[in-house]
Structure formats: structure tokens, C-alpha cells
């Protein structure tokens, strides 16, 4: 109805506003000024509110902290929760958080979203940082402003930040490699991965050029090092306090793999080998000659299926097929060694660039669960995961991670076998178990991620994975913030998930009353605020 009244409703709005300040604006000592949300006419509160703002200690806004401080007997009765409690939860920011012209996209939404997540008890945020945005125009010319702005927001909200340095492009957000790199690529397409049809994958440089000075006389590794060092100095103020993790992009989509699924229209096939660029072919030739089989170095396997073909539609991946032959072992060993050495190069560059800042480094593996039930594991082979003589194909990788003291991020923790289509012979659960075991053997710490699109039963599966005593996962990054993430259906499910993680039922009254929480949750900042208002 159209009648509104000056007196009471405004008072109510004041109250709402106060509540907002109370909960959203002060965490520990961080003061968040925030943009003005007023619908009331008194706009300039920043000065007065400061004095009367109510501080919530981080204890009061972090659900898990309340539990840990409060109901330890309760926790003992459920031993499973012990490991869950120590899991730190991160949420990924949208891929297009910073646009390629260095603007922060949907800033307001992100700010509100971050506050919501902070209140929910989320530990931190993952921020994808694109090479193509920061070093867009020219080699060595870095523009960090957009990402710095995001880091500042994250810091103010009181969340941790996990930076993902992405040396790949993303079709989804239309952020490619830097313009100057793309220009070089136009003239010299050999720097890109190429399949047997001669098609280039332009969102990532070929592993074969890692140490070839193809970028204006510099090798990609040198360029990556420069990027890392620039990042380190630009974000020096945040290192160790806000930034608590750095992920290095190891290949397409940031994952350590060949872009074997260039045309992932249906993902029905196992993907194709990507060894047909100039540098790959010459490396293959050299390797073949050195091993005494020069004829094997003329190209990739001739009997591998095409992108859209079933793996066993041709002879390479079938039982007793080429992959098990001597040639197969020759080719696959070489193909996977390039992947392993690429991981080693990038991680060594990063660990030397970031040495001494005390922020752990991470690298991400793919979870190539399709066709996992075939003996040949074709999806993994085309992506570069192979080990001769039936040895563990992930152990060599884990060893590299261990050597560089890197954590390994494994995605797909939300996937369960029962929801996979039976025709794909897929088994995310067993593959995940396999990789985790390899990591455990090598002493590599594992962090988890979900697959990027929500799947049925995903949250339950994640919780199960995190509960796994065998490999203690202490960090999980949920992908990814956006409209879908905050849609009522999804966000509600996410809230429940977070509560389950911390084993804290916010809605359960029994626990709340049982919990003997120290009453330091709220204290008034200053008593002088109100009187000073009167005279104002």
C-alpha cells in the first residue's frame, strides 16, 4: 500500500542498517567501509558508524571456531568430524572476475558474495589470474591493478586468498593468451599444441617450446618466471597474510595435461594425441633416433581413434593393441615424459621465484575418469599419463610435486561412479583413490576441488572424500562463484554443505544452548558515539 510514514519505518530501516553493519562490516580489526547501501536519507554514516560499529570477533562469525572452542565433548563422540573440522574451505571467484581490460566485473555482487561467504565461515577465495590479462600488451609489461583491487576487497572482508596463476586462455571467458604472444603465434603456429589434422590449440603453449626462445628471444619458462616475480612484488603486502596459496597453471585449463580433448563436443571419445607441432615432432624424431628406431619418430600413432570415436573402435587402445606393444611403450613414454618434465620446469621456476615467502605452491591435475575401466585408460594416455611396465602412472608426477614441495590439487571430488553413464566406462572414484594413493606414497599434500558444474549428490560425495582418513585433505576449493552459485536452490545446498563440513548445525538449538561459548562475541566499540550524535 502506498502509505508510508516517516516515523516508524525509517527507524526500522535504521535497525536493518545497523544489523548490516554489525554483521557485515567488522571482523576482527579489519574495517570495511563498503559502498553505501542506504535507502535512507542520512547518507554519511561513515564517520558516525565507525564509532558505534559493533565488533564481532572472528570467533563469532566463524562457525567452526565456535564449535572448536565450545563443544569438544560433542566432537569426540563423532570421530569422523575430526578430520573435517580441519578442512579449510575456499570458493573460486568467477573466471572473468577481472576483464581483459583490467576492470573488476560485477564488483558489487562479488563484494556481497564475499561477505556472505565470510559469514558462512568460508576460509578463503580462489582468484584466477590470467597471463592474458596481466601481461596483455607487451612482454614484461604487467598490469595488476584489477587483481590488486580484488585482493584488497578479499583482504578487507577478512578472507584468505589463493591466487591461481593461469598461463592458459579460457574460451569460456574469451580471455586468450597475451596479445603479443598470440601475434607471435600467428607468425609461428609451431608454438601451439597441434593435433594430427594440423589444428592448433591456441589457449596454451606447447610443452615442447618450454625451453626454446620463441617469445621475442625468451623462453616461455623465462617469461613465466618474470610473471611470477612481478606477481610476487606487486602483491608483496598480501603475501603470507591474505595470500595463503599460489597455484601454478601447468597446462590447458590450468591442469597438467595435453589438450587432448580439443573438441569436447560430446566427450564421447578418448581424445587425441597432441604431438604434431613442429617442436614436438622434432623432439620425437630425435628421441626415436637416439633409441634406435628412427622410423618411429615420423609421427604419432597411426591407429589411434579420432576425437569422436569410441576408444576401442580402432586398434590402438584395445586390449592387446598398439599401446601395449613396444612401439606403444616407446611413444607413450616419450609423450608422458614431456608432460612430467613440463611440470618439473614450471614448478621449479615457481618455487625458486617464490622461495622464502612462505606461501605454499600448488599444481592441479585433471581427473580423467572417462574410460577409466578400460585397461588402457585411453583418456589418461592421450592426456599424457603413462608409465611403462605397468608402473604407477601418477607416481612420477607426484615425485615431481614432492621434489618442489608442491601441493597437488585434484578436481572432481564431487563425482561418484553411480552418476556416470555406464557406456563411458567411467570411474571417478577409483581414479581419485589411485591418485591420492600415489600422492600419499610420495608425501604430497592433496587439496580438493569439485568439477566445475554441479552434479547430483555432489556435496555428499565431497564430504565423503574429505572424511577419507587415508589421505588427509585439509583444503577444498569449491568452484565457482556466479549466478548459479547464488541461486536460491544452489546456495541453500551449499550452506548445508558448509554446515556439514564444520559439523555445526546452526539451526539446531540444542547445540547452541549446550555450547558454552565465551561471551566475547560482541563488544561495543565506543560509548561516545551516541552522545556525539546528539550534538551533531
Amino acid at each position: 500500500m502506498e502509505v508510508s510514514v516517516i516515523g516508524n519505518p525509517q527507524a526500522r530501516i535504521c535497525r536493518a542498517e545497523l544489523a548490516y553493519r554489525e554483521l557485515g562490516f567488522r571482523f576482527g580489526s579489519d574495517v570495511i567501509s563498503g559502498e553505501s547501501r542506504n535507502r535512507v536519507s542520512f547518507c554519511n554514516q561513515s564517520s558516525k558508524w565507525k564509532e558505534i560499529a559493533i565488533r564481532c570477533s572472528s570467533r563469532s562469525v566463524k562457525c567452526e571456531a565456535i564449535v572448536s572452542g565450545a563443544a569438544s565433548p560433542f566432537l569426540k563422540s563423532t570421530p569422523k568430524s575430526k578430520s573435517l573440522e580441519s578442512v579449510k574451505l575456499f570458493v573460486g571467484l568467477p573466471l572473468d572476475t577481472v576483464s581483459d581490460c583490467n576492470n573488476v566485473n560485477h564488483l558489487k555482487a562479488i563484494t556481497a558474495g564475499l561477505k556472505a561467504l565470510k559469514l558462512l565461515g568460508v576460509e578463503g577465495i580462489e582468484l584466477p589470474i590470467f597471463w592474458g590479462v596481466v601481461e596483455k600488451e607487451a612482454a614484461g609489461k604487467y598490469e595488476w591493478s584489477g587483481y590488486l583491487a580484488v585482493a584488497e576487497i578479499v583482504k578487507k572482508v577478512g578472507l584468505k586468498l589463493h591466487a591461481s596463476l593461469s598461463f592458459h586462455g579460457s574460451k569460456q571467458t574469451e580471455i586468450g593468451l597475451p596479445d603479443w604472444v598470440a601475434k607471435i603465434g600467428d607468425a609461428e603456429p609451431g608454438i601451439y599444441f597441434t593435433d594430427r589434422y594440423g589444428q592448433q590449440y591456441k589457449d596454451c603453449l606447447s610443452f615442447a617450446v618450454d625451453d626454446v626462445p620463441v617469445l621475442d628471444g625468451k623462453t616461455p619458462m623465462e617469461v613465466y618466471r618474470g610473471f611470477c616475480e612481478s606477481f610476487k612484488s606487486a602483491f608483496a603486502d598480501y603475501m603470507g597474510n591474505t595470500i595463503t596459496g599460489i597455484t601454478l597453471g601447468l597446462g590447458p585449463d590450468g591442469e597438467l595435461k595435453y589438450p587432448s580433448h580439443q573438441h569436447n563436443a560430446k566427450l564421447s571419445g578418448a581424445g587425441e594425441f597432441q604431438c604434431y607441432d613442429k617442436h614436438m615432432l622434432s623432439a620425437l624424431k630425435g628421441y626415436a633416433e637416439s633409441t634406435g628406431n628412427p622410423l618411429w619418430g615420423l609421427g604419432g600413432p597411426h591407429d589411434a581413434p579420432a576425437y569422436d570415436q569410441q576408444p576401442n573402435s580402432s586398434s590402438f587402445f584395445s586390449d592387446g593393441g598398439s599401446w601395449e606393444s613396444q612401439y606403444g611403450d616407446f611413444f607413450l613414454s616419450w609423450y608422458s615424459s614431456l608432460l612430467t618434465s613440463h611440470a618439473d620446469r614450471v614448478l621449479s621456476v615457481a618455487s625458486s621465484a617464490f622461495s622464502g615467502i612462505g606461501v605454499p605452491l600448488c599444481g592441479k591435475l585433471p581427473l580423467l575418469h572417462q574410460w577409466h575401466k578400460l585397461r588402457s585408460h585411453p583418456s589418461e594416455l592421450t592426456a599424457g599419463f603413462y608409465s611403462s611396465n605397468g608402473q604407477d602412472r601418477y607416481e612420477a608426477i607426484a615425485e615431481i610435486f614432492a621434489k618442489n614441495s608442491c601441493r597437488m590439487i585434484i578436481p572432481g571430488m564431487d563425482l561418484s561412479d553411480e552418476h556416470q553413464s555406464p557406456e563411458s566406462l567411467s570411474s571417478p572414484e577409483s581414479l581419485l583413490g589411485h591418485i591420492k594413493t600415489s600422492c600419499k606414497k610420495q608425501g604430497v599434500v592433496v587439496s580438493g576441488q569439485n568439477s566445475s558444474t554441479p552434479v547430483p549428490g555432489g556435496f555428499e560425495r565431497i564430504v565423503e572424500n574429505l572424511k577419507d582418513e587415508n589421505v588427509g585433505i585439509d583444503l577444498f576449493t569449491y568452484q565457482r562463484m556466479g549466478a548459479l552459485f547464488f541461486s536460491p536452490e544452489h546456495f541453500h545446498a551449499f550452506t548445508v554443505f558448509v554446515r556439514n563440513l564444520s559439523q555445526f548445525e546452526l539451526s539446531s538449538d540444542d547445540q547452541a544452548s549446550e555450547a558454552e561459548v565465551e561471551a566475547e562475541t560482541a563488544s561495543i566499540g565506543s560509548g561516545t558515539g551516541a552522545p556525539s550524535l546528539q550534538t551533531a
Binding site: 516517516i6 547452541a512 561471551a519 551533531a536
Partner: protein, 899 residues
């Protein structure tokens, strides 16, 4: 301040036509609530009055500004002035008249007694009364015997009599009526309420009818007058001391013969009681503002003229830079001007010579953008325009804005930003301080309580929901790849027809099965049953029944004992039968659940009505703490307060547990399929989700009704903020309920009434209401028992109802049709539209493409199979592959379907 403002009630949908009279005492004051329905018939007249907090005056210090004649602005009145703004703002001033009501019982002869009721306030008073006979139970009234009715009485329905109060003689200060009581009859008690015909307000006694007992065993529900029990507050007012009747215990309860009844009445005593009463009289006045641009001096001359009586002070500031922040202009000022806290100016208007009001002239720099003001009548009475400051814009073109910025900035730079911004807040400062103090106190006092944790968590949860909703709405609109509906709806739609409490099957059509008068017959359930077959054949799938519980007001929206389902609409058995009957014809039934407030049964030791009885015998812990009138000891309200009854504190576990149990009981016992939730603004949507999870309704819809936004009396084109609030609420319930699409109704009002059909498309080419953002949760309607019926708080433009139905019955969302419209001349047209909707299987997520949206015509194509237009303009659906044929046609609307 000894009175409690009623304003907060005025924007409330449940403003019923009943009011209460409370016994005021010196120690506390209960609001005397009455509404003034007659003033709400036209939205044009709406506006509000602000009452500032009484204590505020102490802190206000005005600084006088030198106002010698030399400094005084000289007002130029050049002939060549261009009028740049002229507006006549209607304002309503509400005056409070205080007086008293008396009730006197006296013995004329042995068995002849006389009851007189009088009122000292002028008005057209009507005594609305009935009697209870010996042996009657319950609160129903009966008509009195003929010989008791004074001349001039009119019978209303079959249970009440209306008798006007008259001045006995000219010099008399009281309006009176006297009723002769013959005690030989078997009348056990006399029930009445007072009605003021002028305002339509009803005056009750403690929220109930006045009841004068004539026998001893009349059940005391706390509303007896002159009874021997429960004098409490009456005692100090009654002039005649009454003695306790020792014999009351001996009185035989069972007796039918007249001799016995005489015996029973031996305890009857004369009495005289007075009760204070206050009545608010609204005076319509106007403020006319004319702004001229003086070409010679390039000044803006504003003249403010009003017919408000008494001293009128204009509290004003000027605006620049496109914002409506108040700033102080440079001198000179008009006469009689003082500076108020460096933030605003106060100018007292000059009285007109003929005493018919006041006027004032303001000469202002030509570069300013506008003048903001509010009117101050006295310390406690402020007038503004529909909740906003009056605003007089000067600039007509934006070209001069830049220039203004530059020059003005320098001029006003000495006023720091801080104070400038606080200007408009000055009136609220005290309230803010109070709020802050309350908050601070709350937190302090909770510091050592265990409940603290829970409360903090709930606050946090609320905050999280709010923030997530905010993030969602922005992401949704800024993510280019995200088509608004697709993802959200696709998820919900995975199974083809998925029943969810927010949408039902998605193909629901709602019928509101009652109006404001339905309680009058006392047998509404039975009457409705007879219509079941017809409603089913019309194509309705869901019926919304009136609130079923015992209620202090006959319409049911002031529930008391939630487990007593005997109401003015019928008995619980009749209700059950009705539900069964409708189930038989395939219609689901919604119960009207009033969860925000509940009327108390008993008073606490302070005499405040805040203790409940019945099966849910809650105490004051179940009442929110921030409504001072009911002295609740619960937590602060998680929403807005409804001031006429104690607001239930849903944050209390026992309350929620009881409510869930009650909802489940209603499902089980009555057979309801879902809920219509009353006044859900009053508490957090998350609790609603909780209730829905517990009761698992087939369909549920909440009433979240607040004001649309207006600028200078014009409805704003963009009502996104309004629909956002509704969407936020739905969001807070996690989509477990739909909500009435008040936004769409409001926009239709203006579009149809003023022939502004262009309003019916938002900038993105979607419907501008909730239905454009979240169609599956929008319950579209054009009228209900509050907005229309005999209340008419916000009536749909008359004669244009069918255009409204042509819109909502073809568009996505779940349409709701009002009972009065179905059984009116519109019947055949509504039937045709309903049949079309069902025939073409339009549903709550149907896709709407707006084809034409101009001044005088709006046209849209829905799901590629139905085309519609409303408005006088011309439209034909595009000739293409489709073969359109006219399905329904009427005044200013036309609907086609593909054949």
C-alpha cells in the same frame, strides 16, 4: 508523548475496520488504533504524517539568523517570469480529538433498567449492538427483542442492530443512546461496539465487543463492563463503587423460567463507567507550490501556499548535483528564517490576512537544481509528501547542471560534506540514537546469555541470505551468458511436472474464496460449498479459504486461540466438510495462516494483554521485544511489526515448534493442502521455509505487501527495488513459497488508469513485476479482500478489471482471481479467459514476448500460442505462419490463440 501514533498501521494491509479502546492509565498506554478507510479509496490522496519522537525537542537548538530588512530577500515579481514548476500537493493532517465514552446502567423501575452509552467526541456515532440470551454459548450475537430497540434502530443481518447516538439537547456535550432493558426477557448480556460513521472506525473494548452482563454467569472474556469480576483498571475510573456480590456463588446456573431469571438478577447493580477515547480526524489540506524563473535576475522564485491552519514552518534546503541532499543556500533568506543546526533552514510562513492559511516566497539562486522541504506544524507534527520530502525541481534541461556544479561547489564548500548529508536526517536523529542505544543495550544484556550464540547465528544466517540474494540478483543481471530464467528454472523443471510448494504443479489457478463481508452471514463455509462445482468447472485448481481460527475481529485476521476453528465463517465441522467437498471436485484448498501476530487471552501483572491461553498458552516470551505496547520478552522482531496485536517472536524455539505442530495439525485435521501466509513482512523468510519444510504444503503463497516507489506523486517507472524486496523474501524462504505480485498490481493500476501502457515492459523487455524476474514464484492478482471488497484500501481502477485479468490470466506466474469478480458481471469474460489458459496450457513459467508496449497499448505473445493486447490502441498479432483467431474480447482488451 502520551499517545501512540497510528501511522504505522496505515500502511498495513490488515488494517481492519475494527478498533479498540483500551483503558488508558497513567502508567502505560495502549494504542488506540483506528483506521480511516475512507481516505484510502484513492491512492492520490495518500500521504503520511510524521510524528517525531517527543524527546527530540529538547535537543533541537535553533540558531537565529539575522533577519533585518536589509538582508531580507527581496522578491522580484517580474511579469516575464516563466513558470517552471507548478504543483498542488494534497496533504492530510491528522488531528487527535480526545474524549470519553461512558456506559451507565440504572434501574428505572423494578424490572425495568436502562443502559445508556454516550460519547463526548463529536461525530456520527452508531451503536452497533446485539444481545446474548440465557443459555447461549460462544461469542455470537443475537438480535434483541423488538421492544428493546430504540426508535431509529436498523437491523443489520440477523444478529445486530444499529442505533445512532444523539445529542439529547443542544447544550449537551454527550452523544447518547439509551436502551430499555426488560429483565423479564431472557437476555443475558448486551454486546456492542461503537462505530464512527464519519471515519468508518470501530471502537471496541479491549479488542473485543463491549459486553454488559445482566446475569451473573456470563463468561468473562475480559471484556465485561460493570461486571463484578476483574475490575482491575476499571476500578479507578468507575465513579460508583461496586460491592462484591457474595451471593454469586449460590446462583443457580440452570434456569429457564422467568421467575428464576429474575432471581439470578438479584445481583444486578447500577454502574457508571467512563473510558477515554481518542479519535483521529483527518483534514485534507493542500500545499501548492509554484516556481518561476525570473528572467531578469535569473533567480528562481518559489511560492509556497497552503490552507493548513495555524503556524506552518517550512523546513528546507536546496539541492544541487542531481542529488536530493539538503544544502544551505547562500544568504539572503526570506523573512522569519532561522538556521537549524547548520543543516536546514526554517522559515515560518506568513498567515494570510483572511486567516485561510499561510504563504511564503523564496527567492533562490537560479543555478540551484531544486528545493526540498517538509512542513512542520508543531514540535511533533511534520508533514511530508508520501513519505518523501517535497521537492521542487528548477532545472529543466541537464545542460546547465555542469555549470551549477562548478559554481555552487565553491559557494557551499564551507559546509562540510558531513553536515550536508545529515541534514535530511536531522528529524530522525533522535530515533537513530534510540535505535543505536537499543541495539547496544541488547548486545550488552545478552552478553552472558547462552541464547546469545543462537541469536547471533540467526542474525548471521539472515545476513548471509540477504547478501547471497544481493549477489545473485546482480550476477544474474550482469552475467551476459546467463539467460535470466533458463538456469534457475531449468533446474526446477527437470522432471516435467514437479510439485513444489512454491509453484504447485505450475499450472495452478487460484481463487480467493471470500471477501471482507463473508463473515457476516455466519455460514460462509456452507455458502461456499454450494459453489464448489461451479468453481471447478470454471477451471480453478486452488481455493483460498478465510482464516479459520477464533479471532478477535470477525474477519479472522486477529487470531486468538489457534486450535479453536469455530469462527464467523462457520464451525470446524463445516470447514472440514467444505474442504472435503472441494477435494471431491478436484480443487486444492489453502488455509489462511496468520503467523505474525496473535491476540492475548490474559493480562500480565502490569495490565498488558500479553499472556495467551488455549492449547498454546504462551507467555510474554513469545512476543517480540521491540513493540513496547505488549511488553514482550522475546527477541527483537525479525521483520516489521504489526502494532495492533502482540507480534509473535518466531526466533523462539518453542514458538516455532508449536507453530509447526499447529500447521501439521491443520493439514491433518482440516485437510488443507497449503497455505496463504498473512503479513509475512513481519518475520524472517527463513522461518517460513522452516514451516514449509515441516508442513510440506502442496502450494503456498505469502503476502509481502509494501509500498511502490513514487516521485512527486508519479509512480516511478522502475519498480525494481520493490520487486527485489519481494524476490528477496521468496529467496529467504528458499523458494518454498510464492508471493503475491504486488508490483504487477501497482504498475497495472497506473498503466491502466493513466493510459501509460509503456510501463508494462521493463528496460529489458520483460514484465516489470515480480513475474518478470521470478515468474514461477509470482502469484499475480488484481484485487483481494484488503485492496478491494468493502475495504477498498487500494482498489483496482474501476471498470478496468477485465484488462487486469486479460493480463494476469495470459501471463506467466500463478494467477489469483478474486471472489467478487467471479460472481459479478465479469463472470462470462473471466470464464472465457480461464478456459483459454487451461486450454492452451499456459503455466507459471510460460514465456512472454512483449510485442508492443506504447502509450495506449500493450501486447504480448505468450508461449507462441496466445497473443493478447490491453489498452485502447490498435494491435493485431503478426501475420506469419501462425493462424491467430480471437479467443476472448472485451472492453479495451483482446486475446487471440493459435488454432
Amino acid at each position: 508523548m502520551s499517545t501512540v501514533p497510528i501511522e504505522s498501521l496505515l500502511h498495513h494491509s490488515h488494517l481492519r475496520q475494527n478498533s479498540k479502546i483500551y483503558r488508558g492509565t497513567r502508567s502505560f498506554f495502549i494504542p488506540c488504533s483506528l483506521n480511516l478507510p475512507s481516505h484510502f479509496t484513492s491512492t492520490k490522496l495518500l500521504h503520511s504524517i510524521r510524528t517525531s519522537v517527543g524527546a527530540s525537542s529538547k535537543h533541537r537548538r535553533s540558531v537565529a539568523v539575522r533577519a533585518s530588512s536589509s538582508d531580507t530577500a527581496v522578491v522580484e515579481t517580474a511579469q516575464s517570469d516563466d513558470v517552471i514548476f507548478k504543483e498542488n500537493f494534497p496533504v492530510q493532517r491528522i488531528e487527535k480529538a480526545e474524549g470519553k465514552i461512558y456506559v451507565r446502567l440504572k434501574q428505572v423501575k423494578e424490572n425495568n433498567w436502562e443502559l445508556s452509552v454516550g460519547c463526548s467526541i463529536p461525530g456520527k456515532w452508531i451503536l452497533h449492538w446485539g444481545v446474548s440470551y440465557v443459555g447461549d454459548t460462544g461469542s455470537e450475537w443475537d438480535q434483541p427483542p423488538e421492544d428493546m430497540r430504540p426508535p431509529g434502530s436498523i437491523a443489520i443481518k440477523d444478529y445486530a442492530i444499529e442505533t445512532p447516538l444523539k445529542k439529547l439537547s443542544e447544550g449537551d456535550s454527550f452523544f447518547e443512546v439509551a436502551i430499555n432493558l426488560n429483565l423479564d426477557s431472557s437476555v443475558a448480556a448486551l454486546n456492542f461496539v461503537l462505530k464512527d460513521e464519519e471515519t468508518g472506525a470501530w471502537y471496541q473494548h479491549k479488542g473485543r465487543d463491549f459486553k454488559v452482563p445482566l446475569v451473573d454467569d456470563v463468561p468473562d472474556n475480559g471484556n465485561l463492563i460493570g461486571a463484578k469480576k476483574g475490575f482491575g483498571a476499571i476500578g479507578q475510573l468507575a465513579n460508583i463503587p461496586l460491592e462484591q456480590d457474595k451471593s454469586s456463588g449460590e446462583v443457580q446456573k440452570k434456569s429457564e423460567s422467568s421467575s428464576d431469571s429474575t432471581k439470578e438478577r438479584k445481583g444486578l447493580q447500577e454502574f457508571y463507567e467512563e473510558m477515554p477515547i481518542s479519535k483521529r480526524v483527518a483534514d485534507d489540506n493542500s500545499v501548492s507550490v509554484t516556481a518561476r524563473k525570473c528572467s531578469e535576475t535569473s533567480k528562481n522564485i518559489v511560492s509556497i501556499e497552503t490552507d493548513l491552519p495555524g503556524d506552518v514552518t517550512v523546513h528546507w534546503g536546496v539541492c544541487k548535483n542531481g542529488s536530493k541532499k539538503w544544502e544551505i543556500p547562500s544568504e539572503p533568506y526570506p523573512e522569519d528564517t532561522s538556521l537549524f543546526k547548520n543543516k536546514a533552514l526554517r522559515t515560518r510562513l506568513q498567515r494570510k490576512d483572511d486567516g485561510s492559511g499561510s504563504f511564503g516566497l523564496f527567492s533562490l539562486d537560479g543555478k540551484l537544481e531544486g528545493l526540498c522541504f517538509v512542513l512542520k506544524l508543531n514540535e511533533n507534527t511534520w508533514l511530508n509528501y508520501r513519505g518523501e520530502d517535497f521537492y521542487v525541481p528548477f532545472l529543466t534541461s541537464s545542460s546547465s547542471v555542469v555549470e551549477t556544479e562548478a559554481t555552487e561547489a565553491a559557494q557551499v564548500s564551507k559546509h562540510s560534506k558531513k553536515t550536508d548529508k545529515e541534514v535530511s536526517a536531522s528529524g530522525f536523529t533522535d530515533e537513530i540514537i534510540t535505535e543505536i542505544r537499543n541495539l547496544a543495550n541488547d548486545i550488552h544484556s545478552h552478553k552472558n546469555q547462552k541464547t546469545n550464540v543462537k541469536e547471533v547465528h540467526e542474525n548471521i544466517l539472515q545476513e548471509i541470505e540477504k547478501l547471497a540474494a544481493e549477489a545473485y540478483s546482480i550476477f544474474r543481471s550482469t552475467t551476459p551468458s546467463f539467460s535470466e530464467e533458463s538456469i534457475l528454472e531449468a533446474e526446477a523443471e527437470k522432471p516435467d511436472i514437479k510439485i513444489s510448494s512454491g509453484t504447485g504443479s505450475g499450472f495452478e489457478i487460484l481463487c480467493q474464496g471470500f471477501n471482507w463481508e463473508s463473515n457476516k452471514s455466519g455460514r460462509w463455509y456452507l455458502e461456499l460449498q454450494e459453489k464448489a462445482d461451479e468453481l471447478a468447472s470454471l477451471g480453478f485448481t486452488v481455493l483460498w479459504l478465510p482464516p479459520p481460527t477464533e479471532s478477535v475481529s470477525p474477519e479472522g485476521y486477529m487470531p486468538k486461540d489457534l486450535y479453536n476453528l469455530n469462527s464467523r465463517y462457520g464451525t470446524i465441522d463445516e470447514l472440514k466438510d467444505t474442504v472435503k467437498k472441494f477435494h471431491k471436485v478436484g480443487i486444492k484448498v489453502l488455509g489462511d495462516a496468520v503467523l505474525n501476530h496473535r491476540c492475548a487471552h490474559f493480562k500480565n501483572q502490569n495490565g498488558v494483554w500479553n499472556l495467551f491461553g488455549g492449547r498454546l498458552n504462551w507467555d510474554d516470551r513469545a512476543i517480540v521485544a521491540d513493540d513496547p505496547h505488549f511488553q514482550g520478552r522475546g527477541n527483537k522482531s525479525s521483520g516489521d511489526n504489526f502494532h495492533a496485536a502482540p507480534n509473535i517472536d518466531h526466533s523462539q524455539d518453542f514458538v516455532r515448534k508449536d507453530i509447526k505442530e499447529w500447521l501439521c495439525w491443520m493439514m491433518e485435521e482440516v485437510g488443507y493442502d497449503g497455505w496463504r501466509l498473512d503479513f509475512v513482512r513481519g518475520f524472517w523468510g527463513g522461518y517460513v521455509k522452516d514451516y514449509m519444510d515441516a508442513s510440506k504444503p502442496y502450494f503456498a503463497v505469502g503476502e509481502y505487501w509494501d509500498s511502490l516507489s513514487y516521485t512527486y506523486g508519479e509512480m516511478d517507472y522502475n519498480q525494481d527495488a520493490h520487486r527485489q524486496r519481494i524476490v528477496d523474501w521468496i529467496n529467504a524462504t528458499s523458494g518454498a513459497t510464492g508471493a503475491f505480485d504486488v508490483t504487477t498490481k501497482g504498475i497495472l493500476h497506473t498503466a491502466l488508469q493513466k493510459c501509460e501502457y509503456w510501463r508494462l515492459s521493463d528496460p529489458k523487455g520483460k514484465p516489470p513485476g515480480v513475474v518478470g524476474w521470478w515468474p514461477s514464484r509470482a502469484v499475480t492478482f488484481i484485487e483481494n479482500h484488503d485492496t478491494g471488497s468493502t475495504q477498498g484500501h487500494w482498489r483496482f481502477p474501476e471498470g478496468k478489471e477485465m484488462q487486469g485479468y486479460a493480463y494476469i490470466l495470459t501471463h506467466p506466474g500463478t494467477p489469483a482471481v478474486f471472489f467478487d469478480h467471479i460472481f459479478s458481471d465479469y463472470h462470462p469474460e473471466i470464464a472465457a479467459l480461464l478456459s483459454l489458459r487451461n486450454r492452451q496450457k499456459l503455466h507459471c513459467r510460460s514465456e512472454v514476448n512483449i510485442d508492443k508496449c506504447e502509450r495506449d497499448v500493450y501486447a504480448a505473445i505468450i508461449d507462441d500460442k496466445v497473443a493478447m493486447k490491453i489498452g485502447p490502441g490498435h494491435y493485431e498479432p503478426p501475420n506469419g505462419s501462425k493462424n491467430w483467431s480471437v479467443a476472448v474480447e472485451g472492453r479495451d482488451y483482446k486475446v487471440w490463440e493459435t488454432s
